[in-house]
């Protein structure tokens, strides 16, 4: 799936660019976007390292385990195939809470650790498990409650009511997450009977 998508994106881009006379821009984009990707990684290095460091303290101190106990009804419902005392539960809980609080940079390392743990439960290492699919769909459905970054942009660009979007954004986030959960549950059930 990803192989085809990636290839098709590049082919469509270059063909459309040629037809619309945007080849110069395409050439520039090839170089610039590759550079930008690494610039982004350099920014990420510091922030992600800070978070994985702090989260390690939370993990060793047992805070992550405490949090996953609080979230355990949710985790049981969404991931019935993850054993009760499995470390994947801690990382999934941390990822969800970080996302809800809008700490996206903390969510990514926890999420990648969760994938690592879920992979240990996987029998066929090249195929995603149902729990992995559920985890990613919910993650991507957006969990963030208060979109602080967007509010900051709104006020920077002169909005008279930068926070007017909070309640609408929470509603839209609920709708997208609910749609994701329902879809993941239906597909999971279809597969496991």
């Amino acid at each position: 799936m990803l192989n085809y998508m990636w290839g098709i994106m590049i082919i469509i881009g270059i063909v459309v660019g040629a037809l619309t006379g945007n080849m110069e821009a395409v050439s520039a984009a090839i170089i610039d976007s590759s550079k930008e990707a690494i610039a982004l990684c350099i920014t990420m290095l510091g922030i992600v390292a800070m978070w994985t460091g702090v989260l390690k303290i939370a993990e060793v101190g047992g805070l992550m385990a405490a949090m996953s106990r609080i979230l355990s009804p949710v985790i049981d419902f969404l991931f019935p195939r993850v054993p009760k005392d499995h470390p994947a539960r801690e990382y999934i809980s941390t990822n969800f809470v970080a996302n809800i609080l809008g700490l996206g940079w903390a969510a990514t390392p926890a999420g990648l650790k969760a994938m690592e743990e879920l992979q240990k439960l996987n029998k066929d290492k090249s195929v995603a498990t149902t729990d992995m699919c559920t985890f990613l769909i919910i993650n991507i459905s957006s969990l963030q409650l208060v979109p602080m970054n967007i509010i900051a942009y709104r006020s920077e660009y002169g909005s008279v009511a930068p926070t007017a979007i909070i309640v609408p954004a929470i509603l839209a986030t609920l709708v997208s997450t609910l749609a994701g959960v329902i879809y993941a549950k239906i597909m999971g059930r279809r597969y496991h009977g």
Partner: protein, 177 residues
Amino acid sequence: MGNILTFASAFILPCVILYIVGYGLLSKLNIYDIFIDGAKDGIKIVFNIMPTLVGLLFAVGILRASSAFDLLGRLLEPILDRLGMIVEVFTLAIIKMFSSSASTGILTDIYKNYGTDSAAGLMASIILSSTETVFYTISVYFLSVKITKTRYTVWGALVATIAGVVASVVITNCFLM
């Protein structure tokens, strides 16, 4: 209201860190050693993500520069019009699926051209608040554990994203305008 919220949100990050570090100190952990240990993992994680990110941003860069997204938007304009959605907002929703930083650029363009409190500005704000970078997240997460068969993840993520976009459009048109 805005000020209180900005003020309160400035507390989230420091308080989370204060809580974790304070708790670790009280539990008599070697917190600095543990931090360094964890930070090493973070560096490794980013290095592992790097190739994925280059691949994805490079492909999106080509697509954006080729004006393929604008073309798609113009094609769909009659349908978008009926939904009260302008082409720029549609492009924004598509780009957000690939790259968060690219979508921020489009968002600020919409703010400049239409105003932050216009229908387009509000719709764009809500869409970015209720959707995630679908393809970026899927490729980074799955490639990190070398999974190539992603089953229904892409469809599920698209279902959630479309639901979020539709909700944003409906809420803006029905309640905010």
